[in-house]
Symmetry: C2
Amino acid sequence: MAEQGKRETKREDLRTRILTAATKHIEKSGILGLRARDIAEDAGCALGGLYTVFADLDALIIAVNSQTLQRLDETVEAATNDQTPPGEQLLLLGRHYLAFARNNPRLWRALFEHRLAEGREFPDWHLANQVKLLTHIAKPVGKLQPQLDSQAQMIHARTLFAAVHGIVSISLDNRFIGLPTATLDAELERFISLLLRGLEAGSSLDHPSYGSHTPPQHD
Amino acid sequence: MAEQGKRETKREDLRTRILTAATKHIEKSGILGLRARDIAEDAGCALGGLYTVFADLDALIIAVNSQTLQRLDETVEAATNDQTPPGEQLLLLGRHYLAFARNNPRLWRALFEHRLAEGREFPDWHLANQVKLLTHIAKPVGKLQPQLDSQAQMIHARTLFAAVHGIVSISLDNRFIGLPTATLDAELERFISLLLRGLEAGSSLDHPSYGSHTPPQHD
DNA sequence: TGTACATCAGTGAACGCGCGTTCACTGATGTAC
DNA sequence: TGTACATCAGTGAACGCGCGTTCACTGATGTAC
């Protein structure tokens, strides 16, 4: 007495259980501590079952990362409001990014740690998730600098993101001088405000007012 | 006929050969691709010989990283000049940092990828090397903002470093949107100039002119 | 609806390999005279 | 300087473990009548 679509239902259920288990283990031990056996045990399936749903652990990690990216995106989206002045909006985004990283330290780190073996590429839908995140930053950037075309907006958004990410990343990692928690908040706040003052002071398309542009080539 | 200090000489020689071999292999395959057997073969010693000089691979990687940090420091020092106006000086430091990362991609990456197992700590002399690097940034920062005490200068230097590092890191990693090489130079240039304009426009100790400070607590 | 057969999702033992670290041994270096 | 012994740096085979992935098998689900 085969019920309709029972196979597909079980399949989706198994996929969810595996994804959940993998997420849990990455959050606990990071990507490097991820073991197929742990996941299978936690998901309540046999070791081989994992490989009927995901091609390999890389594919599984990509799935987890994509979900994390979507959760991050939702968080950021919730902090977005067209009424908010663009400068304040950028500050808000920065704060929420820091909060997300703090609340999901290893999942967040996994987004940047995971690399594929030489020659393998991330699937398009995963890259699309990354781009979507930048769009939230590009929007207020566009308001602050209306003269930029949309590609330039994205590039500048990426640069801003990378800068803020660097600060959050090195701090949470405790690289170089360790910072007390409160200091990190203040520093990030101060830093973004500094950027905003710079943006107000002049168009970022101007030639730099400092120095000549002669990048060093060796060492 | 034992010559004086032959043991010590051989020891130092072996240490150098191992360090050189490890450096070469990290530059080629990164930290994760580092294998004790490869190093020993390249250094021309037996597998066990490695463990007479270094306690384990972690200790060896720390030694390589410390050397890399010193090379980076020399590069940066060479770009430092008290005559140069502080703004231009910061731009120079940024350019040289990018150049170093480009020229030593995996060694540079190893500085940030390497983590010790829970509970183990980096030795003090290694941390001192990190702090030294920040000093070069703290100096021009101090000139631009003389009201800061030296600790604040270091903290701000760390923040600036982290921001620039983030941009270089995400770009060289090809995360998010890939950037053509020339664009990265221009973006970094633009970004640092932006910061400098911000620094000119007002003291960074002022309260931010944007938004209220209510960092989100959850997710 | 019930029966007989076909399919294939899921099983879990086994494969295969990688690789850090150890340790009993040895030969080069150092020491004593 | 030369000889006899002591030390210990360095050797490399073996240990020990971890762990991703596969594959011959089976039992639950789907299909045909």
